[in-house]
């Protein structure tokens, strides 16, 4: 397998980031872990945005991934990280294969609302299940990896290195996907769906495949979130959580696979400092940030790198 220049850069950044984790303060390591987990869900949102679909319910797969990990630990006594994440992704893929049959028949606001509805159904079900702690949720058990148990206090750093490695691989795969014929087809569908049909392709099945793949990526993020935070609750499927993913997606833009990662990290840093500096109105800072991005960088943060912003002004 030959790697292109972009892919080499992506992997290089991942290696640098992992190495940086060893010297960085622990809180930063944890913050980046959470941001990367969120970025994976945002990748799922962006994958669908590229096909012209805005989902306000990606929290559904985020939550399924998280709860699958938490419940497998609690009820099946599975602690192996790889297996747990696999179960999470598998559960989300199965659900997406089913829901996708319906979802791919809708576009635009109808798709957005239906996706939101499904995630809120899951939220409602979880709130009513007192065995799963209702709104309080429950704690996720400590993980192991292929029989190795991280020493106490070392788990956050180990998880950080694992998630960076996964993010690097995921970035390469998604980059290839976006350049593949299926990925290009998604953009074509966004531009003109009727034309795609005339070309002899089925937009519905392209979108179906895209929907299932996005669910898998998001569930991976949910699984990582559950393992790093150590706690899951139905809030993961709440519409505000899904809205946050769309927020981060808009912040980064859809032009490049690295954009969601950068946006998620920036979002986490802005938020934590906003909370520290203006505890009573930190939401306002986040709001103004998004407003500024929309006004000055309509294509997201990534346009800083491509120079589109400058050309747009000229």
């Amino acid at each position: 397998m030959r790697l292109s220049k972009t892919e080499l850069i992506l992997l290089g950044v991942a290696v640098l980031l992992a190495a940086g984790g060893v010297i960085a303060p622990q809180w930063l390591v944890f913050l980046l872990t959470m941001a990367l987990a969120k970025a994976m869900v945002v990748q799922g949102v962006v994958m669908q945005m590229r096909a012209g679909l805005v989902t306000f319910g990606q929290g559904l797969f985020f939550c399924v991934g998280g709860y699958a990990v938490g419940m497998s630990g609690h009820f099946l006594n599975i602690t192996d990280l790889a297996l747990l994440l696999l179960i999470g992704v598998g559960a989300a893929v199965l659900l997406a294969m089913l829901l996708g049959l319906l979802m791919t028949r809708y576009r635009e606001i109808f798709f957005a609302m239906l996706s939101l509805a499904f995630s809120m159904i899951l939220y409602g079900v979880l709130v009513k299940s007192s065995a799963l702690g209702s709104t309080d949720g429950f704690n996720v058990k400590a993980w192991t990896l292929f029989g190795w148990t991280p020493a106490s206090g070392q788990a956050p750093l180990a998880l950080f290195i694992i998630i960076v490695a996964c993010s690097g691989l995921l970035a390469v795969l998604l980059h290839r996907y976006s350049r593949s014929s299926a990925g290009m087809m998604c953009e074509a569908i966004r531009e003109n769906e009727v034309r795609v049909e005339y070309l002899g392709q089925s937009p519905r099945w392209v979108l179906y495949m895209n929907y299932v793949a996005a669910a898998a990526v998001s569930a991976l993020g949910g699984g990582f979130m559950a393992l790093s935070a150590g706690h899951i609750d139905p809030e993961m499927a709440y519409w505000i959580t899904s809205g946050e993913f769309v927020f981060i997606a808009l912040l980064g833009g859809t032009a490049h696979v690295a954009a969601p990662f950068i946006a998620a990290i920036l979002f986490a840093v802005v938020r934590t400092y906003a909370i520290e500096l203006v505890p009573h109105s930190w939401q306002m800072i986040l709001g103004f940030t998004l407003l500024a991005i929309i006004v000055f960088l309509p294509k997201g943060l990534w346009s800083l790198f491509t120079g589109q912003a400058r050309r747009a002004k000229a």
Partner: protein
């Protein structure tokens, strides 16, 4: 496309600059932390629906108390300046945003802001999520309000985690005991709860307690509207047609006030006696919109149920002067948590002016007995990590002359009477008929 190729060359540089800049700016703030002051991270709701009734009074109480402590104005035994002679500095953080975010912010408080202790958390989900992290980081943590019975069931061997507030089961056991004293002839009981963990647990604890204490009373209706619904017309109708004698509700905040207003306007509260486990938090706002005789609780001997001691008089006075209103129960609970922390830190046997390590504070806190605005608090449950206190209920009484609400016919139950002993869950203890309870 050709444009993106050219720009790729800029990526590594841009990445490196951003990353380096980020790391530098972030690590800069770390050094500023150690300044010889006792830093307390205070976490409570500053935004969202819980901010008005709970978060703001709590944050205000922390401010008033810390200001008083730093000036050494409190009555004995808290007349020493600050904590152990070190000035207190408060870092306040918003609890809104869910448990995962709170775990992140808790780590930031401990590792970036280098606080010496964290006092906070209203949401039970947040407490459950924070406890294992606090133990992992060895960070002194005092939960001041959350009521989940699960806390020390999950955190089985607590070391750094303490809770100075009461288990929510106590509220409902207390409510049932109060009813068995003042309304022993009640036959029909209805309930209305918010449909989430708090409401579900409260209703379960209350109905099981009633089965034990008032076996003749039957549950005729249970309504579970969703949280923050605000409009309860349908639920009030459903309850009204069953003609209950008692209506139990664990509603809190705006929901509770809305329920009282709407049910009272429909005449429901004249025919039936409402029992509001969190009713005290709105005692200054009901005015004549709530019927006299409505039974309210304050989740312990807090707010209007707090005893008249020197400490509480000082606290009430200062709070009243600063915020033009009397402190409600969340405010008293916040004061209690900070006083407990001060008591432990000053008994950790380090020289004056020094800040004891978390482990030293934890050792002194374990099983401690300290004075608080709510009277004497014994850390007598969960291996010395959970406070045990009594609970009081009373009837709301509005005085039209002074336009002030108050409570009368107050009955207080001792801690031993309403708190499950260690090693048994609240529900098992209730179902077994409260073995070992010592009631006055």
């Amino acid at each position: 496309m050709n444009n993106s190729k050219k720009s790729m060359l800029k990526h590594p540089l841009a990445f490196a600059i951003t990353a380096a800049g980020l790391a530098l700016s972030l690590s800069a703030s770390v050094q500023a932390a150690e300044n010889g002051k006792f830093r307390i991270g205070v976490v409570t709701f500053l935004s969202g629906p819980a901010a008005g009734p709970f978060g703001e009074p709590s944050a205000n109480a922390a401010k008033v108390l810390v200001e008083g402590l730093n000036k050494g104005q409190l009555p004995a035994p808290y007349d020493k300046i600050g904590i152990n002679g070190a000035e207190i500095e408060v870092v306040i953080i918003d609890e809104a945003g869910g448990a995962a975010k709170q775990v992140e912010e808790f780590r930031n408080l401990v590792q970036r802001q280098k606080v010496d202790a964290v006092v906070g958390y209203i949401s039970s989900g947040d407490c459950l999520a924070i406890a294992p992290v606090a133990e992992e980081l060895g960070a002194m943590t005092v939960f001041y309000d959350c009521g989940t019975s699960q806390l020390f069931k999950e955190d089985k061997t607590p070391q750094y985690v303490f809770r100075t507030s009461l288990d929510a089961a106590v509220d409902n056991i207390g409510a049932a005991r109060y009813l068995s004293k003042v309304r022993p002839d009640a036959q029909k009981v209805a309930g209305i709860q918010q449909n989430y963990a708090w409401g579900q647990d409260s209703w379960s604890d209350f109905t099981h307690s009633m089965e034990q204490l008032m076996p003749k009373a039957k549950v005729v209706e249970s309504q579970m509207p969703k949280v923050f619904q605000g409009q309860y017309g349908a639920e009030i109708s459903a309850i009204s047609v069953k003609r209950p004698d008692i209506i139990h509700s664990s509603f809190w905040g705006g929901d509770m006030e809305a329920l009282v207003l709407q049910a009272n306007a429909r005449g429901l509260l004249e025919d039936a006696t409402a029992v509001l486990t969190c009713g005290e938090s709105a005692i200054d706002r009901y005015k004549d919109q709530a019927p006299n005789g409505m039974i309210i609780g304050g989740r312990g001997p807090f707010g209007a149920f707090a005893p008249d001691n020197a400490l509480n008089r000082w606290f009430k006075d200062q709070y009243q002067t600063a915020y033009k209103t009397a402190p409600t129960y969340p405010a008293s609970k916040m004061a209690q948590a900070i006083l407990g922390l001060k008591h432990a830190a000053e008994n950790a046997k380090v020289e004056p002016g020094k800040i004891p390590a978390p482990l030293e504070i934890a050792k002194a806190f374990k099983g401690a007995t300290f004075e608080s605005v709510s009277g004497t608090v014994k850390m007598a449950r969960a291996d010395g990590h959970q406070a045990m206190q009594g609970i009081a209920y009373g009837e709301y009484q509005y005085d039209p002359a002074s336009k002030k609400g108050g409570v009368q016919n107050v009955i207080a139950f001792s801690g031993e009477c309403v708190t499950p002993p260690d090693g048994t869950t609240a529900l098992d203890w209730i179902k077994a008929g409260f073995p070992g309870a010592q009631c006055n």
